[in-house]
């Protein structure tokens, strides 16, 4: 499976965010997107996730499920955690797992264990700290299998131990034939990722 961006161009709010962007990521590979603030890293991830219109160029996925779009085969971890404060930790995860599932089973408990949130499963999400909210969003990626992970600053708000756990999850995803595209300002613990530099150096 291979995700190919060909000559991508994106215009948001009348301003050109990026143009002539080319990349190629295959299964079992990670790509780190770097660049200054405002260089278009988040926009690129949102374009791939189908949340922002592509102004020009072509985004295609070789392999994968042919009748499903790229967005339906991707997990998007954005700046917002998509959690409802009045639902418990387990209910939040259970809902997203049920909603995002295409096929396969739902594994809530192992996913919560993977981010070390299982003791808090019955706590309303309103009482979670920023890092715990982040970890609960990451649990979504584990609970439901989707081959492409789009991570926007995945390590923000995470403590050192959680960053280590995230790195382990990412390496396991890559080893299982998954694909990761991460926008980041620093190292996130991936081995030899491809690099995509956006905007001026």
């Amino acid at each position: 499976m291979q995700l190919i961006g060909d000559n991508l161009r994106c215009v948001r709010g009348g301003r050109e965010v990026f143009a002539d962007l080319n990349f190629r990521v295959a299964s079992g590979e990670a790509m780190v997107v770097t660049g200054r603030n405002g260089a278009g890293k988040s926009s690129l991830l949102r374009v791939i996730a189908g949340l922002v219109h592509l102004t020009g160029g072509q985004l295609s996925l070789d392999g994968g499920i042919p009748e499903a779009s790229v967005a339906e085969q991707a997990h998007y971890l954005g700046h917002q955690d998509a959690l409802k404060p009045s639902l418990s930790v387990a209910e939040n995860l259970q809902f997203w797992a049920e909603f995002l599932r295409i096929e396969g089973s739902i594994e809530i408990i192992p996913a919560l264990q993977a981010v070390d949130l299982q003791p808090l499963a019955d706590l309303p999400a309103a009482y979670l700290s920023a890092g715990q909210r982040r970890r609960l969003s990451i649990a979504r990626l584990v609970a439901i299998k989707r081959p492409i992970w789009l991570l926007d600053e995945p390590t923000s708000a995470l403590d050192v131990a959680s960053q280590g756990r995230l790195a382990k999850l990412m390496r396991a995803h890559i080893a299982g034939g998954g694909m990761i595209i991460a926008a980041t300002h620093g190292p996130i613990g991936l081995d030899n990722p491809r690099e995509l530099q956006m905007g001026p150096q």
């Binding site: 949340l51 339906e72 998509a82 404060p85 009045s86 639902l87 809902f95």
Partner: protein
């Protein structure tokens, strides 16, 4: 289908929990209708003639009350992004949210109507037809309002804009809803024709509402 049901369940659960505001619509309805006799005066004949109209206006305003937050909360916390990334078409996502909204806001309105009808001196024999018009008509209000909610999703103070956009579109529903209810009280025209038109309007909005709302949400993508 399981995604539809789980979204429906989530939205209903959110509505009945803290800060969800499921019963706010019903309480608003109650207070509007209770205030009315004070404004109109103790003329029982007048009240019973105005009864269906008052109940319908109350139901209309109450069902719009919570509607502006329908997509706005999901937009603010990032849930809307993920809702768009499921394999369920956005039209069905929107429809599931609307059904959940009706079950937690519209249905309670219908259920407390008999109590309020007593206060407005509506004859018991008119109660059945009146409730029937509300059961059929309130989904139309929700599904028309859905479009306004989708259009004003990114606006911080979308509530007022929503009312301005949506209220004119609900005029036909209001006309035939009140007309059908009145036939049972004042007569002499039969209940059937206005009620059938109300059913038609309702069915039409069930189809057009989700499609238009999904298009509005997609257009707002940026």
């Amino acid at each position: 289908m399981s995604a539809f049901v789980s979204l429906l369940k989530r939205d209903m659960r959110l509505a009945i929990r803290v800060g969800g505001g499921a019963l706010m619509g019903a309480f608003f309805f109650l207070i509007v209708v209770v205030m009315m006799p004070f404004a109109v005066g103790p003329d029982l004949g007048l009240l019973s003639r105005l009864g269906p109209a008052i109940l319908w206006i109350g139901a209309l305003l109450a069902s719009l009350l919570a509607l502006d937050r329908l997509f706005a909360t999901d937009h603010e916390d990032g849930s809307l992004d993920l809702l768009m990334m499921g394999d369920m078409p956005l039209e069905l996502v929107v429809a599931a949210k609307a059904v959940a909204h009706w079950l937690t806001t519209g249905l309670p309105l219908v259920l407390i109507t008999p109590l309020l009808a007593l206060m407005l001196n509506v004859e018991p024999k008119a109660l059945g037809p009146l409730m029937l018009t509300l059961v059929v008509g309130t989904p139309a209000l929700t599904f028309i309002g859905l479009v306004g909610a989708a259009l004003s999703v990114a606006l911080r103070r979308g509530g007022l804009l929503l009312a301005v956009l949506v209220l004119p579109l609900t005029v036909p529903v209001l006309i035939f809803g009140v007309a059908a209810a009145n036939t049972a009280i004042i007569g002499p025209t039969p209940f059937g024709p206005p009620f059938t038109i109300l059913c038609g309007l309702s069915l039409m909005s069930l189809v057009i509402g989700p499609v238009a709302a999904a298009a509005a949400l997609r257009h707002g993508l940026e």
